[in-house]
Amino acid sequence: HTHLNYKLGLTLQNRTSEALTPAAAARDEFQEELVIRPLHSGDIYASFQFRTLWDTDFLQEGQKVSHYRLFPKSLGQVLSKFSVRELHISFTQGFWRTMQWGQPFIPSPPGAELWVWFHDTVSDVDGNWKELTNVLSGIFCASLNFIDLTNTVQPSASFKPLGLGNATDHRFLRYATLPREIVCTENLTPWKKLLPCGSKAGLAVLLKSEKLFHSSFHSQAVHIRPVCQDEQCTSKAWELRQTLNVVFDLYTAGQGKKEWSLFKMFSRTLTEACPLATSSKVYVDITDNPELSPATPLLSQAVVLGDRRTYSVFDLTRAETFGQLRSLNLLLRWKGDGEMLRPLLHAERYVAGFGLQTGEIHTVIYNNHPYRAFPVLLMDSVPWYLQLYIHTLTVTSKSRDNKPSYIHYQPAKDRHRPHLLEMLIQLPPHSMTEVTVQFERALLKWTEYTPDPNHGFYVGSSVVSALVPSMVAMNTNFTQDQPLFSSFVPVKEESSYFVRVYTEPLLVNLPTPDFSMPYNVICLTCTVVAVGYGSFYNLLTRTFQVDEPSLPLAKRLANLIRRIRGVPLLT
């Protein structure tokens, strides 16, 4: 593979250097998109995507790219300096409620998640990783600098590159999560600054932090990967996707009425597209027939996450979208009584047991498909201070032992490396699979406790990755008006789709000393050492003799006189 990669790299290098020598600026383009989807729970889901494509390659040897147009220079420099092949970073506040909301477009775990594929020419991956996390920490105003070797893992199967190139050597992959990271406006502002129009025009005007953080779920992410420039895929381009997903709680803000408008959601309306954007669109999911105004004739159908959805499309680059008021304020009103498509894959996790010595981590994975079994990859990264007893690992489905077909386990090293457990598990149809493993809680050194040790310690989400059979393929009651020719053979091109499900992080209490005690402890220890040790040492080393009982004072005085007189002494 490396050989192949090397050859491919060479040819790419030749071509792009040819293309770039005439000093013609590489082509770049920017697209923006907003998808609004009413959820069955009554909440409303808004997903922004901003995509910058740049037909250049800054990982080539001897090629210095210094002219940036749409692509943010801060990220470009970082990518070239640390030879990053692919970078995915997400900041999430809240937990995606799969059973209420269905699958998200872009899944992410609570807190911060960062995974990076380095170029295979990098010799010191750990060093690069360390520096990269520190730089990103500065760029995004986040505590990414807390990522170190104790919470970094190299998953062998769960995180494959999403872009061009078929790197499989997981030595060049680093994955880390910070489940405790809190996401706020200070993370949003630098994220917005990466956009070509900033938050001045286009869809980004809607990103007002006072509304975005008044929601049930907030997640922002940056994904950078190499993609093909054209269909022949002869040369590489870089893609930067900035995504922001937010779920608004209709209940608390709308007083129970299922009615929403752009203005209510974001306290802004849309007036124009970003002038730098080649495409700027708003999609509204109208599959469940909400009342939408203004109506638009443009409809689009797509199979998203195994479900066929219908969208109304508003093209912001066209003037008629905004109507006479010169502003677009979408108004949604719906009953939302339709049945939700039950998510086929769903996982949750909890700590069992009580007391501060041992415990058990339970990961429960549900396959809700009525008749299809499918395999999932489960990845667990557990900090070293939970000492896993890997011999107690059990996987049970339908109360029967379910032997994983692939297990990759890397034990932890105290204070150096976390546990990494990856398993390929076959989920029987319509079943609940439970993975349990027992652990013992370690005693930390007193400087290793966080400032709030009684809050507990976090264990990051486990990741379930799977190719899930599509519901569209499963759909056998042809009540919807589909062309007959399309429905005879039920299996279609989109017969399965990729899903990544994150479980909730865990909060585990470790045995914690009373930190007001050190003074007492020091005093007590010193006393015990001084008194106890001293006298015991004395007792053990001394040789005992029965000594003469000393004479009374009168006799001693008498002896003194007798000695002077030279008379024999009294005894």
Partner: protein, 612 residues
């Protein structure tokens, strides 16, 4: 350490200890009792204060929908033939925007519970989770209301639903809030907690939970049985005498003060006249009630079972007496909202304040550092007596070393002479622990009694039979019981009792203290040379079973419901059956402790009395 290396000074000290042993012991005993009684005296106690900084001030406001919801719940409960209206509750919670789940459980009791009239228990818990916005499901608070038969707790469920509705519209939640309505009071809570933590300590059958919300930080249990109340009572005593963090009590007290609600502990209001005799008696009564309740090791409310899982929990019970001033449900709602909001603000688990305390009133507390001294003074008697015996046992041996002939040295008692009574006593203890429940069927066949009576009477019979066991086995082994024999046995028994009481008091001070008060005098003074009949009577009157009986009478006296002797006896029997049931159902350890350790230890002293 000069004492250890200098034989002459050591001799002086031991001489002093043996010579003054009895006076020192008597002084220690009296000092222990006086110290304990002094704990209730206000100048000696500390004022309670909020230790947790995170529970700063909060604004509070709440709605008044609770009463109509309570009525609706009542109507649906009647439709469900006094059971739990599961469907209605699920709908009611769902319509308030909670994620609702149910859990069914069943349990066959070891023998019928006559107090609560149940044997085969089958029930359903309904709980709804209010998900906090932008929170990753790692922390939760629990508000529970038991759904009990009759109309005794409908208002609590109504208030719970009203709170759920109000809380759902607020934006400030940082922890998920679980609203739990549990059937069959403690058994429902037990089933729910065991399922939540995936443990099974007591062999209950339950269905697994579908929804969770991370680690539970604190819990409040509501008990309200009327629309208006005059005062709120706070119940803290949990399983095995565990108590929640004192900050939880402080929080309750602070909000009662703020909202002007009368609040009580042990059903007693607090008085300000500590310098009068009545004021002191009142405080002492309150503290004694707490000691008695804690000592019996049962959970006095639904909250008690949470404590095992390191969840700080308390029960709040509304009391409607004839007092003129009434508080309505809206005020209680505000109070609970305030408490939950402060708990929601917690950054860490409650840990700043005390976990071991006694409360003479809601605003005063006695910390472990103070009350342990009373217990220490009692236990030191056992150690002094043991030291005395040790010196006496050692003295002839010392003389023999100095003496000329070794033939005169009395041979030490064989291991068997001491071991046999110890083993026999403990086997009796095992019989007392195991047989009552296992022999109930046989007893019911042969005697005209119910299962519960059979269990209790078997226990009493075994207890009494233990006194008549052939305790003088050493006569079979070595002919005559020697002087040294009983001394070694007593030394062993004294140290055993001291360790036993010490360990008990560390976990449950009240239990350890009550046992020490009755057991220490007889164990310290018992020898075979005392008048047999009189000392046997004293020993029986101060035996563990009689201690329980006295506690029953004192408790009834303190709650101002004195009972006659026969009623007291019936209560005593029901206390035994409840103790056995608590052990089987919730894992309370008082019955096994008494049966397996304290009673055999007492039997060893009984053995010494009849040593010959």
């Amino acid at each position: 350490m000069g004492l250890l290396s200098d034989p002459s000074r050591r001799k002086v000290l031991t001489g002093l200890l043996t010579r003054l042993n009895t006076p020192i012991c008597i002084v220690c005993y009296l000092a222990g009792i006086v110290w304990f009684m002094g704990l209730a005296f206000e100048p000696f106690t500390l004022r309670t204060y909020m230790s947790e900084n995170a529970m700063g001030s909060t604004m509070v406001s709440s709605g008044e929908r609770a009463l109509s919801l309570a009525k609706e719940f009542d109507a649906h409960k009647r439709q469900a033939y006094d059971g739990m209206p599961v469907e209605w509750l699920v709908k009611a919670m769902q319509s308030r925007g909670l994620e609702v789940f149910t859990q069914s459980f069943s349990r066959k009791l070891p023998f019928p519970d006559e107090n609560k009239e149940r044997y085969m228990v089958r029930g359903t818990n309904v709980y709804g989770i209010l998900r906090a916005p932008r929170a990753p499901r790692t922390e939760a608070l629990v508000i529970s209301a038991p759904c009990s038969p009759g109309d005794s707790n409908n208002q609590a469920v109504g208030l719970l639903l009203a709170l759920a509705q109000y809380f759902r519209n607020q934006v400030y939640w940082a922890k998920d809030i679980i609203f739990l309505v549990n059937e069959h009071d403690l058994m429902g809570t037990q089933a729910w907690l065991e399922a939540y933590h995936h443990t099974n300590i007591t062999g209950m059958e339950y269905s697994p939970l579908q929804g969770r919300a991370g680690s539970i930080q604190a819990a409040l249990s509501l008990e309200l049985s009327s629309d208006v109340i005059t005062s709120l009572d706070l119940i803290l005593e949990g399983l095995n005498g565990q108590l929640p963090n004192l900050d939880l009590a402080n929080l309750f007290y602070a909000f009662c003060q703020k909202l002007g609600v009368l609040c009580t502990i042990q059903g007693k209001l607090q008085r300000n006249d500590w310098d009068t005799a009545e004021g002191y008696t009142h405080a002492a009564q309150t503290m004694m009630l707490m000691v008695l309740k804690q000592a019996c090791g049962r959970s006095w409310g639904d909250h008690g079972l949470f404590l095992r899982y390191h969840i700080e929990a308390a029960s709040v019970r509304g009391i409607n007496s004839f007092r003129h001033y009434k508080t309505d449900a809206a005020t209680i709602g505000r109070l609970l909202e305030g408490m939950v909001r402060k708990l929601n603000n917690l950054l860490e688990r409650l840990h700043q304040s005390y976990f071991f305390y006694l409360l003479p009133s809601l605003s005063r507390f006695v910390s472990i550092g103070c009350y342990m001294l009373a217990f220490g003074l009692l236990v030191v008697i056992l150690l002094l007596r043991a030291l005395d015996l040790w010196v006496h046992l050692g003295a002839p041996a010392l003389a023999a070393v100095e003496g000329v002939t070794e033939a005169q040295q009395p041979s030490g008692p064989g291991v068997l002479t001491v071991l046999t009574p110890v083993v026999i006593s403990h086997l009796t203890g095992v019989a007392l622990y195991l047989l009552p429940v296992h022999l109930q069927e046989m007893a019911v066949e042969h005697f005209p009694v119910s299962e519960t009576e059979a269990v209790v009477l078997t226990a009493v019979a075994i207890y009494t039979a233990g006194l008549a066991l052939p305790h003088n086995t050493q006569r079979l082994l070595s002919g005559e019981g020697t002087e040294q024999g009983w001394k070694v046995l007593k030394l062993t028994a004294l140290l055993y009792l001291a360790v036993l009481l010490g360990c008990t008091a560390l976990i449950n001070f009240s239990l350890g203290f009550i046992l020490a008060v009755t057991l220490v005098p007889i164990t310290a003074s018992m020898t075979p040379h005392m008048p047999k009949a009189l000392s046997a009577l004293v020993m029986v009157l101060l035996s563990p079973a009689f201690t329980v009986l006295y506690c029953v009478f004192i408790y009834q006296e303190l709650i101002e419901a004195p009972v006659s002797v026969s009623e007291g006896w019936m209560l005593f029997l029901s206390v035994i059956s409840q103790g056995i049931l608590d052990h089987a159902l919730y894992g309370s350890l008082v019955y096994p402790l008494l049966a397996l350790f304290i009673y055999p230890c007492w039997l060893m002293f009984w053995n010494i009395l009849f040593w010959s």
